[in-house]
Chain length 129, copies 2
């Protein structure tokens, strides 16, 4: 696999771009994480979402511990070529480390952020190692 297509992406100075994961079918936005060249390449090669973990400073195969991998259906790039949108099938129906379907479970109501989505599985049972 040649890497020319990776050069199309306008990687920021820190080598990253935001990547939005949207669930196929429901259309729900599940997560927004970060990708570098290696993460995007691995995502394409394996057909499963890989990100760059900014907190752990390492390549992160989403679901590597939880089993909640994201299978890739399509990969899109925006007009400025600095944001990636992936359409995914979410294993286990849980994208969030809190055990919820989507990471976007807090909704602004008036001046309050209200939790709107239930925990589907206790994180203690997700991360057993």
């Amino acid at each position: 696999m040649k890497d020319g297509w990776l050069n199309k992406v306008n990687w920021a100075q820190d080598g990253l771009v935001p990547a939005v994961a949207q669930e196929t079918g429901s259309g729900r936005v599940l997560t927004v994480a970060w990708m570098n060249r290696e993460a995007l390449k691995k995502t394409v090669q394996t057909g499963e979402a890989h990100y760059w973990s900014r907190s752990r400073k390492k390549l992160w195969h989403k679901g590597e511990e939880s089993g909640h991998v994201q299978k890739i259906k399509s990969i899109r790039l925006d007009c400025d070529e600095d944001v990636i949108l992936i359409e995914v099938e979410q294993a286990g129906g849980i994208a969030c480390h809190t055990g919820r379907h989507s990471c976007f479970f807090q909704r602004l109501e008036g001046e309050n952020w209200v939790t709107t989505d239930p925990v589907l599985k206790d994180p203690k049972d997700i991360y057993k190692k």
Copy 2:
């Protein structure tokens, strides 16, 4: 309006967080841009999306020139509180400065980025000033 709810957001060192705009109804991801405190506050106060333009280094009322404003239906925050997801009604059905419905009009097919979405209106006719 007090600003306590704005402190819930984990603004990055540069004062920004990514903001994903998703179209109500279709569920399409239209744009990803950046917000600072002022942009989010204005978004809530006016009911229309405001962003921080990193290229122009100024507050940007989306649609201020094109008329393609984004009316806010809901505002969500993710688990790390460093990404915002807004559900919007897209005026004119055009979110992208290229005259397309969504900014994510390039799709990876094999090793090629292929333009999949048509231009709905010539940018020359959108930006007449």
